[in-house]
């Protein structure tokens, strides 16, 4: 079901400011790739472009063999904030992307998505009644319900406390096992990156390019206490520092 996401020679500038400067990356079908990098380096911009929200760029973004030139039903996006529609209850929020025909099929899809994030009991609740973590799970379910082949996540858990975040990471993995989308996750949490991803891509300072790619070998389910992950985290941290220092030297 899932498709490859391929970005080639991507360049993007805001006015005079180059944000992405020739970026290449590929995410294989059903692979999980985490993107980390210095803040303000264009990580979120990369996701906005891949989601088709902004089509002013040079280079190529492909989903499967299709060129991305606007929002695409095969591509889902989860934002940093839940962005739920406050006037819709949980089930209707999840159903939003299915259009307004709430047939039996749509209802089954919504039920599945809510089950995937363990929120079946809250189907009738309003967003104002949810905690931050629950709201973000609804947002995840809303993105999954249309069964996107590529799912983009923009620092989805960054606003949550450490415990909720860990729980949501596991839930994301569970949902991924169920739907198997190709997953591109932008994060600033290195633990999150090495815990979730098959590969971690390190971006350079602005304008963003791929500075390093670090494969994460341990098979899932992973143990957060695994020393291999801790070592990878250290390696990533060093690479990030190197990246910053390189920038300082050139500047």
């Amino acid at each position: 079901m899932s498709r490859r996401l391929a970005v080639t020679e991507l360049r993007k500038r805001y006015g005079e400011l180059p944000v992405i400067g020739g970026l290449d990356l590929e995410v294989a079908p059903s692979e999980i790739v985490a993107v980390v990098g210095p803040s303000g380096c264009g990580k979120s911009t990369l996701l906005r472009l891949a989601a088709g929200l902004d089509t002013h760029y040079r280079g190529e973004i492909r989903v499967g063999n299709e060129l991305v030139c606007g929002p695409h039903p095969a591509v889902g996006l989860v934002f940093q904030e839940p962005r739920l529609f406050p006037w819709l209850n949980v089930a209707d929020n999840v159903a939003f992307g299915l259009g307004e025909r709430h047939g039996a099929h749509a209802q089954a899809l919504v039920r599945d998505a809510l089950e995937a994030v363990e929120l079946t009991a809250f189907a009738g609740a309003l967003p104002k009644e949810l905690s931050g973590g629950m709201a973000q799970r609804v947002a995840l379910a809303r993105a999954l319900v249309t069964e996107p082949q590529v799912l983009l996540l923009d620092e989805p858990f960054s606003a949550l406390d450490a415990f909720t975040r860990m729980r949501l990471q596991d839930q994301l993995l569970a949902a991924w096992t169920r739907y198997r989308p190709t997953l591109l996750l932008v994060t600033h949490d290195l633990d999150e990156a090495v815990y979730l991803a098959d590969r971690v891509i390190l971006l350079s300072e602005r304008p963003a390019r791929v500075a390093d790619v670090i494969p994460v070998a341990p098979a899932r389910p992973r143990d957060r206490r695994d020393p291999t992950l801790a070592a990878l985290r250290v390696a990533l941290l060093e690479a990030l520092h190197l990246e910053r220092d390189a920038r300082l030297v050139t500047a």
Binding site: L53, G70, H72, P73, V75, F79, R83, F96, P127, K128
Partner: protein, 240 residues
């Protein structure tokens, strides 16, 4: 009590401010002759029609102006200029254009209802969270669907505020409209009693207008609390 006492103590003469029983008698007298019902129905019909038309036009125009920048440039300056025209100034023009029939009265009420609804709706639409619109864009919704499924529900609180203010304005404007060449209605009853110096009848009309205005307001408030149960605001919290 204050009213009763002030007449009894001679603060006002009875012909200036008749005591409550006299006013009640006048009301019953009007009702027996079927005039009070006719007045109320005539005024109510004008308010309902005028408010309906004014609010409907405001919702359509407000949505278009709120959503598309192009139409904002076309309509907004004209509408802002029209808004500064005082209420009463419309009356002679409408009389001339539309005659002394129902049409100018309903139009005047519609104008009164239009502006609060329009202004509040446009402000509401402008204030819709861009982030919510973006969610709809990710799902590849077109402009009309985004307006219908995101922008309008999100600006519903402002629309309802506008409708409430618009209804108040409609009641105000209907009285003004009925001052000019009408033979029925609570506004007519006011001018008619002025000519015959019947303060008691005037008070009957005023009480009716106040009651009807209050009922309208309560009705829209009831709709508000039902339709906006999803809101997470101080006002909502207090209701719980």
């Amino acid at each position: 009590m204050l009213w009763w006492g002030s007449v009894g103590l001679g603060v006002f003469e009875a012909y200036q401010l008749p005591p409550p029983p006299v006013v009640l008698d006048a009301a019953i007298g009007l009702w027996r002759r079927g005039l009070l019902q006719l007045d109320i129905l005539a005024t109510l019909a004008r308010v309902v029609e005028g408010f309906g038309i004014g609010a409907a036009v405001a919702v359509v125009l407000g949505t278009i102006v709120g959503v598309t920048r192009r139409s904002e440039e076309i309509f907004e300056p004209t509408l802002q200029a029209l808004r500064t025209v005082p209420t009463l100034a419309w009356a002679p023009l409408l009389l001339l254009w539309l005659g002394i029939d129902e049409a100018p009265k309903i139009t005047l009420v519609a104008i009164g209802a239009f502006f609060p609804v329009y202004v509040n709706l446009v402000a509401g639409i402008k204030g819709v969270d861009r982030k919510l619109v973006e969610v709809a864009r990710v799902f590849d919704l077109g402009g009309v669907d985004i307006a219908r499924r995101v922008v309008l529900p999100a600006s519903l609180p402002d629309l309802l505020t506008g409708l409430r203010l618009g209804a108040t304005q409609a009641w105000l404007f209907v009285v003004v409209a009925e001052f000019f060449g009408s033979s029925r209605g609570l506004g007519f009853r006011l001018t008619d009693s002025l000519q015959s110096s019947r303060v008691d009848l005037m008070i009957v009309a005023l009480v009716c207008l106040a009651a009807l205005g209050k009922v309208t307001d309560m009705l829209i408030r009831a709709i508000e609390t039902r339709a906006l149960r999803w809101r997470d605001t101080l006002g909502e919290r207090r209701l719980e």
